[in-house]
């Protein structure tokens, strides 16, 4: 049973959802990010946020995967000041919604003054609405960017235990853990972090406050990165408990502080969100068995069977 706390599912296919469900991914968190190119108006942000709490949530549910999201203004687009102001005004309406587990992903890209300005505004917002924060650390100048991200969080009075610092590597992890933040690692096939390196990090630092994610998006990335890394950890002799912590429980504990994600959402069939009606008249039809609560070995919906609306 896996929780992948960083997936840009809007850019993935239904094949990916099927493969994730079959591999035992029970829930994902989709942080708001850019689209690979900058948006030009606030309406594009609104439709994107609405998609994260609407259509994408439904699409995931059809494969038995619980979909949660983080809402925020990403660092790249924080550099368009006029647009950023409008997006900031929009955020409170989305942060109060069900299944929104964090403000994110926010932080630095170029470490510009505008990025810093909107990062700080959103940290205050997170405090105000009492949500955890998901930090995107920069791909360039990462070490300094990571360090500064944490310092700014501290300056704004956020408890390190409510902040997940993502996209770590061997160079950043020690400081993040030492300062009491959650340290997330994005497993990318070619860049960022590979599964082998991830195994070594967990061996060296132990499983406490370490989180593995795929950050699968429109680039070369692997939506099965979490289960695959777990399998490699098992083969390399890490304990089941340690594997469960870094691929499931730690993310649940970190984002569970929002009150918007609970294991019961997928474990307790009776607690399944009735508005999404997994059984009977809603998502699954034609005698198709519900996918929730029966993990890993359920028959997947057949995309040719007209049981899916996508």
């Amino acid at each position: 049973m896996y929780l992948d706390p960083h997936v840009h599912a809007v850019s993935r296919t239904t094949d990916d959802y099927q493969a994730m469900a079959a591999a035992g991914v029970v829930a994902i968190i989709e942080p708001a990010f850019w689209l690979g190119q900058p948006r030009t108006n606030v309406g594009s942000f609104q439709d994107y946020f609405s998609m994260l709490v609407g259509w994408e949530r439904f699409r995931a549910s059809q494969f038995g995967i619980r979909h949660y999201c983080a809402i925020g203004l990403n660092s790249k687009e924080a550099n368009n000041e006029a647009l950023a102001e409008e997006v900031i005004d929009l955020l409170p309406r989305y942060l109060a919604k069900e299944g929104v587990v964090a403000v994110g992903e926010i932080g630095y890209d170029d470490m510009s003054a505008l990025e810093e300005k909107y990062f700080r505004i959103q940290l205050d917002l997170a405090k105000e609405v009492d949500l955890p924060v998901m930090i995107h650390t920069p791909h360039r100048n990462k070490k300094e960017g990571t360090s500064r991200s944490m310092s700014v969080c501290e300056e704004h009075g956020l408890a390190p235990g409510t902040v997940v610092v993502d996209h770590n590597n061997e160079e950043t992890v020690k400081e993040v853990l030492d300062r009491g933040f959650w340290a997330a690692f994005t497993i990318y096939p070619h860049t960022k972090m590979g599964s082998e390196r991830m195994v070594e990090i967990v061996k060296q630092y132990g499983p406490e406050r370490i989180i593995v994610d795929s950050a699968a998006d429109w680039g070369v990335s692997d939506p099965l990165a979490v289960p695959k890394t777990a399998a490699l950890m098992k083969a390399r002799g890490l304990s089941d408990e340690a594997i469960s912590k870094v691929t499931y429980q730690n993310a649940l504990d970190a984002y569970g502080q929002s009150g918007q994600i609970r294991a019961g959402d997928w474990l307790d069939a009776a607690a399944v969100d009735p508005t999404e009606k997994f059984e009977g008249s809603g998502v699954l039809r034609g005698g198709q068995p519900p996918q929730v609560g029966k993990l890993g070995n359920t028959p997947m919906p057949d995309p040719g069977s007209d049981n899916l609306i996508v």
Binding site: Q46, F49, S50, V53, G54, W55, R57, F58, L90, P92, R93, Y94, A96, K97, E98, G99, G259, D273, P274, T275, E276, K277, S281, G282, V283, R285, G286, D306, N307, I309, V310
Partner: protein, 280 residues
């Protein structure tokens, strides 16, 4: 409460919710009714999820009768606490020029649960004619639970949709695989154009070798033309037990001269005692 239907909703919540949640709701209802900025309405409509959960109201017969008396055809048997609280806030919106645009703005940024609550509450709101376009927009969704919030147990479409959108809604219910029986006004709004659309749809399904919902024939029977009668004869000859029983039920409602003749050829179906609700 400005909208009398909100009183009924509040009464149901009062019997089930904790005092704190109810006090919160009364306070927000008051603020919105007094003309608070729409941001207050939007935020609290969302925040209702933090005070009320998804426990079903599980209304008893007398409550359901009261609902039907307040709004004929309104059947809130599947309503949940959270949706009900949100409906109370919707009912608080002042009945002015800003009313319909506020509903539009709400739904333009609503999550799935928020959409369900708003569409379920449509028959309780004032200015229904200004909400028809939004309701039609709601029936275009592919999120089945949202579609059902309008199509099922909700008299809004029966009371306010013209024939074309009504027919589209019924056909779409079949298309997305939700039952027809909970559609309020299904029999009274049956019409010849819908009959034709449904028979064409049945032919498409047959051509693809796929199952045709037996419920489809319910809206065909009363308006069946010669071609539709031939389709029903085909079902009687080739269908499975469910389909044959449905075709027999449909033929019983048909004034067509061949309907009785067909039924008499299939005496084994004369004793079918199923009702349309049995096919849902």
């Amino acid at each position: 409460m400005t909208n009398p239907r909100a009183g009924l909703l509040r009464e149901w919540l009062a019997e089930r919710a904790v005092a704190d949640a109810l006090a919160w709701l009364d306070e927000k209802h008051g603020a919105i009714a007094d003309g608070a900025p729409d941001s207050v309405f939007f935020m609290n409509y969302s925040a209702a999820s933090r005070r009320f959960d998804r426990t079903p109201l599980a209304l008893d017969e007398s409550a359901l009768r009261a609902a039907d008396a307040a709004v004929p055809g309104w059947r809130p048997q599947a309503w949940e606490m959270m949706h009900t609280a949100r409906a109370v806030l919707l009912c608080a919106l002042p009945d002015g020029e800003a009313f319909a645009p506020t509903i539009d703005k709400l739904l333009d940024a609503a999550d799935i649960g928020e959409q369900i609550a708003a569409y379920q509450a449509l028959p309780l709101l004032t200015q229904p004619t200004r909400l028809v376009a939004r309701a039609r927009e709601g029936t275009r969704t592919n999120i089945t639970a949202v579609f059902q919030a309008i199509a099922h147990n909700n008299p809004f479409a029966r009371d306010h949709f013209e024939e074309a959108p009504w027919n589209q809604m019924v056909l779409k219910a079949l298309f997305v695989g939700v039952p027809l029986a909970p559609i309020v006004g299904l029999d009274e709004r049956a019409n010849a154009a819908l009959m034709r659309m449904l028979c064409d749809y049945a032919h498409e399904r047959w051509a693809a070798g796929r199952v045709v919902s037996p419920e489809l024939w319910r809206c065909v029977g009363p308006h069946a033309d010669d071609d539709a009668i031939r389709d029903l004869a085909r079902v009687l000859a080739q269908g499975d037990d469910d389909a044959r029983a449905a075709a027999a039920l449909a033929l019983r409602t048909s004034p067509h001269s061949r309907a009785a003749e067909l039924l008499s050829k299939h005496k084994e179906l004369a004793s079918v005692s199923r009702s349309w609700n049995d096919f849902a």
